[in-house]
């Protein structure tokens, strides 16, 4: 018989020695103990003379989301749910409970399904011994070439149990549990006084569990982020990282080419004196040549203003076409001192950049205004390299990657919040 097909039912039935409820045995000869789902009585069936060996103090109050006896199809075979238990750990006075389902296939053996806060893992016992890593300093381990980071160590106790088990399950039974994660996998070690067991779990979407067991009742709703839940943004984040690097590389190349190719040529420079008492203040400059392709023009004005201002209305006029670029600039510079010490405000220098000015012969019409006569220097530069378009481009290209990074980090922050190694929040400077 193929192990991938449902096992032929070989169910033995007997009555509970305590309450008389029917109890089914599905684990064949591997079952050693069975717990009555009605009264919680633990019955030892390892020998022919069945006997009661204990009873859970509290009757089971949690109904398994997967009914015992139901079968589920998994990639490595069809397994039947034969046992259910709830365990808990206590951390800082708070109990954290999770549920485990023992699955059985007569040809494949046992598997576990673990459910915590609606997050499911499909678990298989492994024989391979992981190796401790010291580089992280948190007890992380490697298993078959993958690094698993230590998540939590705690003493787990059995709260209640129903169904069959292949070991001597008892109420209050405890063991040390250590979890290591490498999403979507989780590696768990359980140590009792006489044995150490390692098991490897894989995160399973709740919908897959419902489909595998053909469940009609809804599974527990997912709460928060599962211990080994894969981040939905990991794949996208990696692709985004490569694309962002490519785009930034192109942007840097464009900027470097721009810096290298720009003329940044001084095409006109002259000192002027603004006479506040003059009747006609406007003047024109000599003609100057703007050559090359259509590019920008920077008009730089430096005025000897001290605790004063100068307003300059300027017009860059193409002498051949009559096209004019009209703009106004204010230069003000104030300084002094007060109880906080010396202060300054404004600047004696101003730079105005006109975009996309075609080549040609130009002159400036300048009309200054101000409260006092002032000397000022006007310089005109052609094809000036700029940094702000590059900075804006870089900012725009980083918005989405940073948002994804923030969401990924937020996801991991939630994951690790219940671990022994919680992540620090942004800006706390105490990251793990």
């Amino acid at each position: 018989m193929d192990g991938d097909k449902p096992a032929t039912p070989k169910v033995q039935t007997f009555k509970c020695l305590q309450c008389g409820s029917p109890i089914s045995l599905r684990g064949l000869l591997q079952t050693t103990r069975v717990v009555c789902s009605r009264c919680g009585t633990v019955i030892d069936i390892s020998d022919e003379n069945m006997r009661i060996i204990g009873r859970f103090k509290e009757r089971p109050t949690v109904k398994p989301a997967i009914p015992l006896g139901s079968r589920g199809a998994f990639p490595d075979g069809v397994f039947e749910a034969i046992g259910f238990m709830q365990r808990f750990i206590t951390v800082e006075g708070v109990d954290y409970r999770w549920r485990e389902y023992l699955l059985f296939n007569p040809f494949k053996g046992f598997r576990w399904l673990s459910e915590y806060n609606g997050h499911w893992s499909y678990i298989k016992t492994v024989m391979h011994q992981p190796r401790v890593l010291h580089i992280f300093g948190d007890g992380s381990i490697t298993f078959k070439g993958s690094v698993f980071r230590h998540f939590q160590s705690a003493n787990a106790k059995v709260e209640f149990v129903i169904g069959e088990f292949y070991w001597r399950v008892e109420a209050g039974q405890s063991c040390l549990v250590q979890d290591y994660v490498n999403p979507p996998q989780i590696l768990s070690m359980e140590r009792t006084s006489n044995e150490i067991t390692w098991s490897l779990g894989e995160y399973v979407e709740p919908q897959e569990i419902a489909t595998a067991f053909k469940l009609t009742t809804p599974l527990p709703a997912r709460i928060g982020v599962g211990v080994n839940q894969p981040s939905p943004l990991v794949q996208q984040g990696e692709s985004l990282k490569g694309l962002t690097a490519l785009f930034l590389g192109i942007a840097i190349s464009i900027q470097l080419i721009s810096l290298a190719m720009s003329d940044n040529a001084l095409v006109f420079q002259r000192n002027f004196l603004f006479n506040a008492a003059a009747t006609e203040k406007s003047l024109v400059t000599d003609l100057f040549e703007l050559s090359g392709r259509t590019s920008n023009v920077m008009v730089c004005t430096k005025a000897d203003v001290n605790n004063n201002w100068l307003y300059v209305s300027m017009t860059l006029i193409n002498d051949e076409t009559g096209t004019a670029y009209d703009f106004g600039r204010e230069i003000d510079y104030y300084f002094g001192s007060d109880s906080d010490g010396a202060w300054t405000e404004g600047s004696q220098t101003d730079e105005a950049i006109l975009p996309a000015v075609p080549a040609g012969r130009y002159y400036l019409r300048i009309e200054p205004d101000g409260p006092a006569s002032t000397r000022y220097l006007v310089s005109v530069y052609r094809d000036v390299p700029q940094w702000w378009p590059f900075l804006i481009t870089t900012g725009l290209l980083l918005v989405l990657p940073l948002a994804v990074f923030w969401r990924r980090r937020s996801f991991e922050y939630q994951r690790w919040s219940e671990s022994d190694h919680p992540m620090a929040k942004f800006g706390s400077g105490d990251d793990e």
Binding site: A352, E367, L396
Partner: protein, 56 residues
């Protein structure tokens, strides 16, 4: 999301390349066509919209 970012990034880079080539600026200015030739001889005939005239 990758498709969106590919298109978005390409557009941003194209815009950046164009702005870098042509020159761009936040300077507020007006472009006026066919200003009179007489400005060269008599600058006072032109009145800029950016000129500041004192209130009297």
């Amino acid at each position: 999301m990758i498709r969106f970012f590919s298109i978005f990034g390409t557009l941003v880079l194209a815009l950046f390349a164009y702005a870098t080539y042509r020159g761009t600026s936040f300077t507020s200015y007006d472009e006026i066509k066919d200003v009179p030739k007489s400005i060269r001889d008599n600058p006072g005939v032109y009145r800029s919209v950016y000129a500041r005239y004192p209130h009297k």
